[in-house]
Amino acid sequence: MLKSKTFVKKTRAGGVMKIVREHYLRDDIWCGSEACRECKQESTVLQAEACIESNLCPYPHYVVPDTNVVLHQIDVLEDPVIRNVIILQTVLQEVRHRSAPVYKRLKDMIQAKEKLVYTFTNEHHRETYIEREQGESANDRNDRAIRVAVKWYSQHLKADGLKVVLLTDDQGNKEKAEESIDEYVKNLTANPELVDRLALSKDDKAEIISSKVLFPEHLPLSKIQSGIKSGTFLQGTFKASRDNYLEATVFVQGEGEESTEVLIQGLQNLNRAVHQDVVAVQLLPRNQWVLPSSVVLQDDGAAKDDDVDGDEEEKAVISAAEAAGKPTGKIVGIIKRNWRPFCGMLNVSQIKESTRHLFTPADRRIPRIRIETRQASTLVGQRIMVAIDGWPKNSRYPNGHFVRSLGSAGEKGTEEAVLLLEHDVPHQAFSQNVLSFLPKMPWGITPEDMIKRQDLRHLTVCSVDPPGCTDIDDALHCRELENGNLEVGVHIADVSHFIRPGNALDKEAANRGTTVYLCGKRIDMVPELLSSNLCSLRSNVERLAFSCIWEMNHNAEILKTQFTKSVINSKASLTYAEAQMRIDDTNKKDDITESLRGLNKLAKILKRKRIENGALTLSSLEVRFHIDSETHDPIDLQTKELMETNSMVEEFMLLANISVAQKIYDEFPDCALLRKHPAPPPSNYDILLKAAKSKNVEIHTDSAKALADSLDVAKVDGFSYFNTLLRILATRCMMQAVYFCSGMDSDFHHYGLASPIYTHFTSPIRRYADIIVHRLLAVAIGADITYPDLMDKHKQSALCNNLNYRHKMSQYAQRASVAFHTQLFFKSRGILNEEGFVLFVRKNAIIVLIPKFGLEGTVFFDSKDKAGPSLVFDEEIPGVSVAAPDVEPQAKKPKVDR
């Protein structure tokens, strides 16, 4: 089988080394075509009747894209119309090297069965391997390798009446009489809309370019690198300003903790950087340093075209440039573009026949993008996705291409898609590859499953959750033991039994990080079969669980803790309200109710103890929408009610989390995944202190305990909501709680819960962190095996970063979803009168909270046409003295400032 061997020589930068590697060439690599009679392959991928309707290639053919086509036109290749594709190993490797996201998309494409993509290992095929020639660059060699492979294919399949079409944009390759993707796609008769998805190729770009050079040239990477080394340039992340499109800051990460911000002003200095790019900045001389301008500027030059608006922009900059202030700089080069597809709306060009239009992204920090499309009239009023292809130095706007339409603007589905995309929430359906790792149905518990599990099916376990919950991940039980003590068990869905480390399902879940709950919709972290069925601890079915069982006395002191994998059979799934009713109904004496009462009693003691230790009870408004079952429009909304049973479940979850955190930390001091909540710096409390002072209430912030105590006594007569308002403010003073790896940090304290150690164990269906904690705990008790990544603190730290990011984004997405539904709700309501409270006072506006709707909005004093009342703004005691006595914002529906 081993035919011959040749040597591939390689040199590495920095100290030239000659590396010799073997390279075996084989003659048992098959072509993957159904029609082929020569190859002795067992299974084929490509069809014999490979037909894509095309004017250019009317014969049956396979498509072979080259590397650049894959990199730039993956949007087109992903379309279901394009099938029977051959991906060469050379292409796959080059893509892997050049772009990780495209590589992932390409891999998903290869995995998808209906796409009929075959990977041909041409580099190890005896007839298609070529050696690099003298003076040939690596790129040229790869191009040639692609051509050789295509040639081999066409000869190989000649007898079977099939042809192979190489898709390329490269001049050199084109001369070999292959097809360019432009022409190919343009000639696909079935799908005219695909044309728009083509990214601009080089020749097209030339047309658009006007003669005037608008931007300074970017420096080449080598110059940037030496500049950064010598300190003349700084490297940082570019953050565009939301309010002013001519202003941005670059965050430069300094040595250790400190980081500086460099201000960038003016179109020239911004020099085509886009939000989130990694850029190189050069500081301007000190006398040109400016302060950020307070003007709100939006780039709304629909009428003006490329190069007329110079004057106005200059003015806006100069007005702010009077006082010398912050470090200011200009962008000299882009180190890494962080472009993603952007959502937004199309501004149709006023010239009717024009095919070039501007696109306005939903995110105000992204500049407008010029795209080319023939279907502008259909795209108007739709939310569309656009990807940037490039930003030449003589173009006012970046050039991009249309990716896909999301639907009409304002529609629920469309807006949901937009907010998911904008918050980077992975929400595509699970790929075939991921689904292949699901257990086969019908699923049952096998004797092998029982080996390391305790049989707890006889216990009276029940679950308490919000109404309509289908992913039940926790259940509880409580019973009296013979010795008079109480046995309390928390049973958590055993998700780690189904999701094995390292497989595609696990990787997908790790990437998603968390389930995202939007109003009326849930974006699952794991496929539905697991989340709503096999893992969900539903009543009266046998389910696998991970149990944490304590023996407690009647003062809720833990005498013994035991962790075990188990099998349970939940006797009832209750809602909070149902559970509350059972507890309150003194006539009920059944096992479930007794168990609930026992739990409730212990929970109260636990809560009291926790608060004595200084745990904070904070408040934030959460609203629930009643959604119409037919139209899915919100019909009413209410703030979430809290019942005793809510806190009952919460107490035991906290207890389980803390017990598990201790256990895994004892077992794995280096690689336990924990959660911490740092104490906020004192300056964070300013808004809270000021607000309290306005009502002559004193708040102590020296410790969590002092804060909790002073919040408890902070009451004003006749203003019962004041305490809640303070708690809402206190919540905003807090830091974000984060996941971290115990080997990488020394501060474990959880400020809000006043616990020295904490982790997440209780919701593995919807949080990936819990799955890792389950795995660690399973190893600790000998119920499961470990794997290298679990014990690697650096890998785990990287995972924590992703999880923290996903959690943050999912929270933002949830808020955005609530805000959108609030708007939908008010669309049909007209003007309502509700009670509201002033949260903050600004120079020209107040921020008002309406508790009934959980809605917060900015009310401006002066609107566009009429001047506001004369106001005196006092920074110290925030408040505005108003001349006119009748400014009461209560009756007004606030504009929601998003």
């Binding site: 073997e22 990780a100 470990t786 014990m791």
Partner: protein, 244 residues
């Protein structure tokens, strides 16, 4: 970008082999006339020369002699030019001492030492070019050299390294694979009886995978033994035709 992809989705390794395939093995026996036995062996790009002297009287301190069997003295070294980076490799550094000890243990298990009491057998192995699997190549070369010297053994000792990647065992690792973060295991086997002479592993691996890995290593060793057997037979044939 992430490191090398050790096993592609199509099942090919970096150098185009499949998971269970060995590198190409080529060997010659009797390369030195002066020594009692010698052999040269290539396994892919790893090349080793093994030379055997003895059995002879104990050299040096007589007190080392064992009254019931021969002692085996092994010395392992690497040529200055054996790796991409050229560096002096003094004798007796920690790595080569360890390797010498492993070789000694391997051959004490295989050679019928009790036939030569109060004597000594010297085995010198030198790596000329190194591309992964140094230990196993040394063992395979030394086996041929011992056979060439006519010293009776229980069986061939064949060695092979295996690694574990993506739930798959890779046989006969090359240097790129060894340094690419694979948990590797070296095993030497007396193939006919299936006895293991030495297992060595200092990477992390879950114990559940150990059996599959050892199984894969034993299969690979049996593959090596077939090749060695052929080499010995061919060498004998050449020797006998010459004498005729």
């Amino acid at each position: 970008m992430a490191g090398l992809e050790l096993l592609s989705d199509q099942g090919y390794r970096l150098d185009g082999r499949k998971a269970t395939e060995l590198r190409k093995v080529q060997a010659r026996m009797g390369v030195f006339a002066q020594a009692d036995g010698s052999a040269y062996l290539e396994q892919g790009n790893t090349k080793a020369l093994a030379v055997v002297y003895g059995p002879h009287e104990i050299r040096g301190a007589r007190s080392r002699a064992l009254h019931d069997r021969a002692i085996i003295n092994c010395q392992y070294s690497m040529a200055t030019f054996s790796t991409a980076e050229r560096k002096r490799r003094p004798h007796g550094d920690r790595k080569s001492t360890e390797m010498s000890l492993h070789l000694k243990q391997t051959f004490e298990a295989a050679v019928l030492t009790q036939l030569y009491p109060r004597s000594q057998i010297d085995i010198y192995v030198k790596i000329l070019q190194s591309d992964g699997g140094n230990y196993s190549v040394c063992v395979n070369a030394a086996t041929l050299a011992v056979i060439d010297a006519g010293i009776p053994m229980r069986d061939y000792v064949c060695a092979c390294t295996v690694g574990f990647v993506d739930e798959t065992s890779l046989a006969d690792l090359c240097y790129a694979e060894e340094s690419g973060g694979v948990s590797s295991l070296a095993l030497s086997l007396l193939p006919r009886g299936g006895q293991i002479a030495l297992v060595q592993m200092d990477a992390r691996l879950h114990q559940d995978h150990l059996d599959t890995l050892i199984e894969a290593a034993m299969t690979a060793c049996k593959g090596v033994s077939k090749v060695l057997d052929q080499v010995v037979r061919q060498h004998l044939q050449e020797g006998s035709t010459l004498r005729e």
